[in-house]
Amino acid sequence: MKIIVFIEQIVSTQVKLQGVDYFDSTRVSEDDLVINPSSKNALEGALKLKDQLGAEVTAVCVRGLKPNKALREAIAMGCTDAIEIADETIYTDDPLLLAKVYVEALGKIGEFDLVFLGVEEQSTGSYAIGAMLSEKLGLPSVLYAEEIEVIDSGYKVGHVLEGGRKIVAMPNKGVISCSDSQYFTPRYTSMRGILTAKRAEIPKWTAADLGLSSSVVGKEAASLIEVSFSNIVIEKESYIIKEGEPEEKVENLLAKLKEDEVKLGA
């Protein structure tokens, strides 16, 4: 059994950059680069099946400033191996182009059973990749998974639904995107895993290795075109209390609420 997990590397949200600066690579150090938490949920989903069924798990990273770092961490978590796809011609801000790259990568990998992804591509705020990939592959899929159970015919998967949870059955081969449910809480890296990751050889593929050119996956091929990108200026006037002892802060708040005639309580 073989599972492929597509992961994304992002700038940690703990890094205090504002708005558009998040996307300025010159302001980011390597220490600030982490695996997208949503991708980590996907790694956990695949590794749970590895524990249960003895699957081989391959992590693949196309997106990020230093994908090799993310892939070594994926191996340290327990992945069998990893592949880096690095090519500046690939325009990763359009989920449809990214799906095309994933399809070709799967073609080059060969046989596989399941594909795991996170729900959100955090660097672009896109939630479309799981749906687009499964549609392009023509494979059944369950998105926003919360829990996976192995059954005779494949998998019983619970997924997020507004106001509850939906349970479906899917066959052995397909695409699953994992939510941030407790079930997919990612494991820590192990000492043994870290040593394995250090020694691991991670192949690097280019767009040409996948038979793709910039006219297919480059910026000129994008159908989602960015018109503008700007910081949001909040015009709302807020009264935020930063200074003082806790008691003074509370008294300050209550006094201001009284002045503004905001009623506390029914």
Partner: protein
Amino acid sequence: MVKTLVFGQIREDIIEENTLGVLNKLTEISGISEIIVALFGHQIKDEWITELGKHGASRVVSVKAPELEVYLSRPYVKAMLEVIEKTEPKLVIAAGTVYGEDLIPRLAVHHGVSCAQRINDISIVGDDLHFHTPVRDDQAMKVTRIEGAIKFATSRAGAFFVNENPDGGSPNVESFDVTFSEEDMLVKHIEIKKAERTVNLKDAKIIVAGGRGVGGKEQFQIIRELADILGGEIEATRACTDVHWIEETYEIGQTGQSVSPDLYIAAGISGAPQHVSGIKAKTLIAINTDEGAAIFNFADYGIIGDLHVILPILKQKLQG
């Protein structure tokens, strides 16, 4: 003029609220010429069509089939593609629910284009449509356009207000059949487990809410105590319900409930877009240790401080 097709979503036997919000928004945009709603199901109820008319739908196209009783990707994609072919819209849009976000990207793939997601505004520029999406915890706004004959988009949950127009007309209704094969039904529906709705947060006037910053099940007690004193309800973000600090019933935001209280106290809540999208409070007070937390962008009042220190003092002052 832009002919628009909306994915008509049904939840718990009524038209899903965000879908009505999308319809309302479309009626406000000059340049949208016709609003068509696609409805799918085992049965199509008359009251759904009346409701859609009240919110701006001028035409309803329905497909009735047992395979469409519950949303599953393949049969819904097939049915929606046929509706698109028959109605020839320029814009296809769905409310950004779990189902809407599953369906729209798939339809876009079949038309060889990408899609705009979680938009909170649409503008018509010349002959083109521009889609506005807040990104990076609402710190930046991305505006995109789609290169293609048909544009596909999902709205952000809670982005649009729902206003009923009692004089709304009766939409023209047409229906047709779609046949499904075994291949279309590879994923099989087993059941939907509904969260027990013992608390109606939707009508609550005062809400005290806790987020990840609360830190644990026992620590939620201070949230409960403050809510009791204020005569309000308690509420939690998904981060808390997922780890069972509090029952799922109390969750709001994109996958929970939407609320519009007079007063909303957000304690230890970061202000992630999926949570904030469910809050439309008259007054929002935030308490958080992190000065940079996005919740302060939405707050009317705030204290930078530890909720476990601030809330007990607040409670004591209110009691005294």
